[in-house]
């Protein structure tokens, strides 16, 4: 039985009376890859920030295993251009880092040659790998990755997901990922949690893609390959949209149904 690293217990967050998240229950165990999906503004990042201790929950609590050690990979890295910084120096900032591990970690991620590069000149994919290296150097048993493939082309995305899966297999750590892109990430994921303020549905990728709540947000898999990438901004009603979708089945009828709705 693998260790449960984190359990969200009825997490709710609101700002000035606006509800961002309500009643979120979710767990992450050792060796498990959990992918959090949901449209823009659905509260994915807020939920992750709560886990990281960067955001207080208004209600409920985050139960952390006493051994929990998080490696965090933020969505992007902004470093002021006035600050000269090489990749090596950036990674040496990890608290209590073993400096001997910096180069091997970079090499494992295929970017050993970037050790002496300035962080300002890295490409999107290189930056993501450097951030992943920083997360790994914190010796985590849970990796928290906020949109790890942002700004990376499709081939690079596949490589990154393979890397993440490889790391999970090697370290047996838990992985919590936020993602927009459903196709590529599905194959690597054990559990998908689809949220839009609350948990819409969760389970194995197969289970979730067949769920009406998921289809209402992301379309029917296979109906139109492109639609799954676009997250709809509309607030949704499960049954109604779900049923319209299963009737219509293609992207266009889906769009129209939403237009009429407003």
């Amino acid at each position: 039985m693998s260790k449960r690293l984190v359990a969200f217990d009825k997490i709710g967050i609101s700002f000035d009376g606006r509800v961002l998240l309500e009643n979120i229950d979710m767990t992450i165990s050792e060796g498990e890859i959990v992918t959090l999906i949901g449209p823009n503004g659905s509260g994915k990042s807020t939920l992750i920030r709560t886990l990281l201790g960067l955001q207080e929950a208004t209600s409920g609590e985050v139960v952390r295993h006493k051994t929990l050690r998080i490696g965090y990979m933020p969505q992007k890295l902004h470093i002021d251009p006035t600050l000269p910084l090489t990749v090596k120096h950036f990674l040496a900032l990890v608290r209590g880092v073993d400096k001997q591990q910096i180069l091997p970690t970079l090499e494992k991620l295929g970017i050993g040659h970037l050790l002496q590069s300035q962080v300002h000149v890295l490409s999107g994919g290189e930056t993501q790998r450097v951030l992943l290296a920083r997360a790994l150097l914190n010796r985590p048993n849970l990796l928290v990755l906020d949109e790890p493939v942002q700004g990376v082309d499709v081939n690079g995305q596949v490589e990154l997901y393979n890397l993440i899966e490889g790391i999970r297999n090697e370290l047996n750590c838990g992985v919590l990922m936020v993602s927009h892109d459903l196709h590529l990430v599905m194959a690597k994921t054990d559990t998908v949690v689809c949220i839009n303020q609350h948990v819409c549905c969760s389970g194995s990728p197969q289970h979730v893609t067949g769920h009406p709540a998921y289809q209402a947000l992301f379309g029917v898999p296979g109906a139109d390959e492109s639609i799954a990438i676009y997250a709809h901004q509309h607030d949704h009603v499960h049954d109604e949209h779900g049923s319209i979708l299963s009737d219509g089945g293609d992207a266009h009828s889906h769009d129209h149904s939403q237009c009429n709705h407003h």
Partner: protein, 263 residues
């Protein structure tokens, strides 16, 4: 005369040496306006020091730290945009300082010296203050270099990795306040920030790492002090502004000459 110049040189070099590395942090964290606000309030510290008859350096440090704390508290409440808030505090504090100084009838204060500095007026005690304060700043900087840099690079990553982000941010403000207190005699409240920012900005052109930039900033600051003092001696120009002009010239040289940028 030589004694006077030597003391001025010693004091100036001491200030420039600490203002450099701290200036680098001010540049990286975009705290220039914040530094200005603290510096402007230092005059109020001088007035209070005279009124309450306490050590001026101490009064300045206490006032700057107090103001820094007020700033952080107000900033968190999001009452008004930070730059507006800084503008309000900076100029209110400066004006309040000028008003307070005018109440001191029985003490004559050389206002120009406090506003623009008077390097040639520093005495033995000032030199001790500069080196004592400077040593404290450098010791703290070296001891907490890694957390200070980690928080500057990315606060969220630093927090997740367990750095005490709030405490480190406070430490940095305390250091800025300390430098302002010791540097005031040299360049005056209106020019202190320039002695932090200009050498650091010049050093950026020549540096590949944060440590390099901090060290070069110290060196360039020291060069500016030497040049400024020399100009002041040669042409009888005001010392503080001469130092700043010299720093600005070095900045111009670094950015116009075709050095290869090292990054």
């Amino acid at each position: 005369m030589l004694d006077l110049l030597l003391r001025a040189l010693l004091g100036g070099l001491g200030v420039a040496a600490v203002a450099g590395p701290l200036g680098a942090f001010v540049v990286w964290r975009r705290m220039a306006y914040f530094g200005d606000t603290l510096a402007h309030s230092a005059l109020l510290g001088v007035a209070l020091g005279f009124l309450l008859d306490i050590n001026l350096n101490l009064a300045i440090i206490v006032l700057c730290v107090g103001l820094a704390l007020v700033l952080v508290t107000l900033q968190k409440k999001h009452i008004i945009a930070t730059d507006t808030l800084l503008g309000i505090l900076a100029h209110s504090a400066l004006s309040l300082g000028l008003v307070a100084v005018s109440f001191l009838d029985n003490i004559r204060i050389d206002l120009m010296a406090y506003l623009f500095g008077d390097l040639l007026a520093i005495n033995q005690a000032d030199v001790y203050w500069i080196y004592g304060g400077g040593l404290a700043v450098i010791t703290l900087l070296v001891t907490f270099w890694k957390p200070l840099l980690a928080v500057t690079v990315n606060e969220e990553l630093a927090k997740v990795e367990g750095y005490p982000v709030e405490a480190i941010r406070l430490l940095l403000m305390l250091l800025v306040a300390l430098v302002i207190a010791v540097a005031m005699k040299i360049v005056g409240v209106l020019l202190i920030t320039s002695l932090m920012i200009i050498p650091a900005a010049t050093a950026r052109k020549l540096s590949k790492t944060p440590v390099q930039m901090a060290s070069f900033a110290s060196l360039i600051g020291c060069l500016s002090v030497c040049g400024g003092l020399w100009a002041s001696y040669r042409w009888d120009t005001p010392t503080g502004p001469s130092v700043v002009v010299c720093a600005a010239l070095l900045f111009l040289v670094a950015y116009t000459l075709p050095f290869k940028r090292l990054s």
